[in-house]
């Protein structure tokens, strides 16, 4: 069963909160992981791996650099779910 876009966003916010302690409401779609949320590459890898598990998708390492904003990640996961 596929997750809705809103569910993916909410789920990502929970993963970011778990990794960084940032409040879930600060994890908005338009925010940049590095510039706005101050997430470093190591936290980003942990977030990606946790997202893979939560949403049942694969996000190859080479694609992670393209996930600049939270919306990029939501879109990527939505597309990967359909595949």
């Amino acid at each position: 069963m596929a997750f809705t876009e809103a569910e993916v966003l909410a789920g990502l916010a929970e993963i970011v909160n778990e990794e960084t302690g940032l409040a879930v409401e600060t994890v908005e779609a338009s925010k940049s992981f590095t510039d706005d949320l101050d997430i470093d590459s190591i936290s980003m890898m942990t977030i990606v791996v946790n997202a893979e598990k939560k949403f049942g998708v694969k996000i190859p390492d080479d694609d992670v650099k393209d996930l600049v904003t939270v919306q990029d990640a939501v879109d990527y996961i939505n597309k990967a779910q359909e595949a």
Binding site: T20, I42, T46, V49, E52
Partner: protein, 414 residues
């Protein structure tokens, strides 16, 4: 001329408390930090030992942010908490990075991180192994965490020599300050290795007490019925600087680090040389380097782990070291209360030695119901604290480790 080196700050996370002062107060009250563990290891793995001296699990969440804690092995978490306390105690909010160093120690390193990662690999595959697994498990992880926190750019080093580790790191810190390589050294050691595997290993070599019916009395150095040591965990930090530097900034001074000594048994990987002659050599070297005489030594914090074979050679060595003055030196075996903090033990016992000199109070040794008749000559403080004499006095703190390592630090009152 070698400058005087002094201790200006202390910090500790131990089974007896979350701070150096809480630990010291518990020591004076003769409390045991040893308890039955709140886990299923005994049932699950059939371990013969179900008790240890553990740090209160609330200490880490109360002192570190969750994100920071997640990136540190428990041995680094304890290290950082104790270092922060010591730096605050020394009144060092800011230091010159180029003149600040770290001399740290651990016996085992990040064993929990390694073994948790192994479980993750088996159960969930390599993708789920945390990226920081290796930097978290490396033995220099605690030193690096402290170095980054306090911007210590004059060198960040880690001594690894089992249970002598953090006496060696303190000795090394003395050298760094005395030789002028840094103004401030954050020195100490940490360990967080209470794990079913370490318990199984130590138990297989018959090193651990199996007194499961009375864990609080299991660590009983010098008692005739002692049957092994009790695993502990935690960290201790001492801030070392030259007396001149400390006085210039108006710092309080706990005690002087006079010098230190080191030797090795080169005898057996776990068993100490039975005559204690190389333990004696390290003690002799410490007091010689410090230009002290046996008559100056009024207090000894003994290594005394409560193993049947370990306590006797050390007592013989102390007797030989002090000769006719042996009766004037009050000997305390504080592992009777703290358990054995392995790589953290030397630092915590040095803190207790420094507090003893500062307050003129030698800690008690608890649980000696019947003194082992083989322990002769040394003047053991039993049950309650004992007063140390006024005037200029000195003390030594002994640590011996698997691998034949012997390290001794000498302190003087101020």
């Amino acid at each position: 001329m070698t400058p005087k080196v002094v201790v200006t700050g202390i910090g500790a996370v131990t089974p007896l408390g979350a701070t150096a002062d809480a630990t010291w107060q518990a020591i004076l009250a003769g409390k045991s930090g040893v308890h039955t563990m709140d886990n299923d290891w005994s049932e699950k793995y059939g371990l013969a030992v179900d008790f240890a001296a553990q740090v209160d699990p609330q200490v880490v969440p109360e002192n570190l942010k969750r994100v920071q804690a997640k990136r540190l092995d428990p041995s680094s978490q304890f290290a950082l908490i104790s270092a922060r306390e010591a730096m605050a105690d020394a009144g060092l909010e800011e230091t010159d990075p180029d003149r600040t160093a770290v001399s740290w120690a651990t016996g085992i390193g990040g064993v929990w991180t390694l073994l948790d990662a192994w479980d993750t690999l088996q159960e969930e595959g390599p993708r789920r192994v945390m990226p920081l697994t290796v930097p978290m498990l490396m033995p220099n992880g605690p030193a690096a965490a402290i170095g980054m926190e306090f911007k210590a750019r004059a060198g960040v080093q880690t001594m690894v020599s089992a249970c002598a580790s953090s006496t060696e790191s303190l000795g090394h810190a003395y050298d760094v300050v005395a030789n002028g390589h840094a103004d401030i050294v954050i020195a100490g050691g940490s360990e967080a290795a209470i794990h079913p595997i370490t318990i199984a290993s130590f138990n297989s070599m018959q090193a651990l007490s199996r007194r499961t019916d009375s864990p609080e009395t299991a660590s009983r150095p010098y008692d005739v019925d002692r049957d092994g040591f009790v695993m502990g965990e935690g960290a201790g930090t001492l801030i070392l600087e030259t007396e001149e530097h400390a006085k210039a900034r108006g710092a309080k001074i706990y005690a002087e680090v006079s010098s230190w000594g080191i030797s090795n048994d080169a005898y057996h990987i776990t068993g100490g040389e039975p005559g204690g002659q190389y333990a004696l050599r390290a003690m002799q070297s410490a007091i010689d380097n410090a230009e002290l005489s046996p008559a100056d030594i009024k207090h000894v914090n003994a290594h005394a782990t409560s193993t049947p074979v370990g306590d006797i050679p050390e007592s013989l060595a102390i007797s030989q070291l002090l000769g006719s003055h042996v009766g004037d030196a009050l000997v305390s075996a504080t592992k009777s209360m703290t358990g054995h903090l392995l790589g953290g033990t030397g630092a915590v016992e040095s803190i207790l030695t420094v507090k003893a000199l500062q307050t003129r109070t030698a800690p008690p040794t608890i649980n000696i119901d019947e003194l082992d008749p083989e322990v002769v000559g040394i003047n053991i403080v039993r049950d309650t604290p004992a007063e140390l004499p006024s005037g200029d006095i000195a003390a030594i703190s002994n640590s011996f480790g698997f691998g034949g390592h012997n390290a001794v630090v000498a302190f003087k009152s101020v």
